[in-house]
Symmetry: C2
Subunit: 153 residues, 2 copies
């Protein structure tokens, strides 16, 4: 939550608009670099990481760490969501690696439960539910390997 002076640079604007456009999706640092390349613009990876870090500090962007050896994901959440109690949970399929994005009151309730009963202040931003997604479960029960499985991360 470092509020430091911010210049309005071209890189920051493009990055921010990209994140906003992809709102609800998950973007990695290398996605950002690729996007800039496609736009004909260019950016150094160091800048990407530094800008993303700033945006996370400012609360405009969330950072998710799904697995230790896959790159961190970023997602634009905006100022409102940050100030609101807007909570978002993530489910990660252990089989196909898919990341599912959930807004759900019942899940939010566990936040209160953990806080009230277990005195633990849940951080939904960092918490990822691991398990098996619908397609993979179907594929598993219907015999064997799903279509494009075998991946992971």
């Amino acid at each position: 939550m470092n509020i430091r002076p911010k210049y309005k640079t071209k890189q920051r604007e493009i990055l921010l608009s990209y994140l906003q456009a992809a709102s609800g999706g998950h973007i990695t640092a290398s996605d950002v670099c690729e996007y800039f390349r496609k736009q004909g613009a260019s950016i150094g990876q160091a800048t990407v990481y530094r800008q993303l870090e700033s945006l996370v500090d400012e609360g405009l962007v969330n950072k998710y760490i799904i697995d230790s050896n896959s790159p961190a994901c970023f997602e634009y959440v905006g100022k409102d969501a940050h100030e609101e109690g807007e909570v978002c949970f993530h489910c990660k399929c252990e089989k196909c690696g898919k990341l599912i994005h959930l807004h759900c009151d019942e899940l939010e309730a566990i936040k209160d439960h953990l806080s009230g009963e277990h005195h633990f202040q849940l951080d939904p931003l960092r918490t990822v539910f691991y398990g098996i997604c619908e397609e993979c479960r179907k594929a598993l029960s219907s015999g064997d390997a799903p279509a494009g499985s075998s991946d992971q991360n």
Copy 2:
């Protein structure tokens, strides 16, 4: 959940007994290497990672990722918890690194909820709730940094 043939090697046994002895604590790959060195035994880091991966696959050990650029932590959870329907959830304090074990019906209920409503089959063994534990929250709200803060892997 790969059940592959397992040989009972010296390295595996020492590693497993170390993890069991440190049950409830969190251990990194380099901790393991150091432990072997102290024991007069030796092990290659590749073996450490490979064994840990196997143990995680078997459900004997859980893997926790606290921060993208700090090493992953491992913890022995045992076979019983895995084979029984006995569900155990883990809360990890992002501040002090403490790992809290929870047996709780309400948390188990989210398993059914995710399955019923979101068609996602939760794997409690892999899932870790991240957040702030009671002591750290108190320490944070009561002014500033807690006693031995600033740590965390």
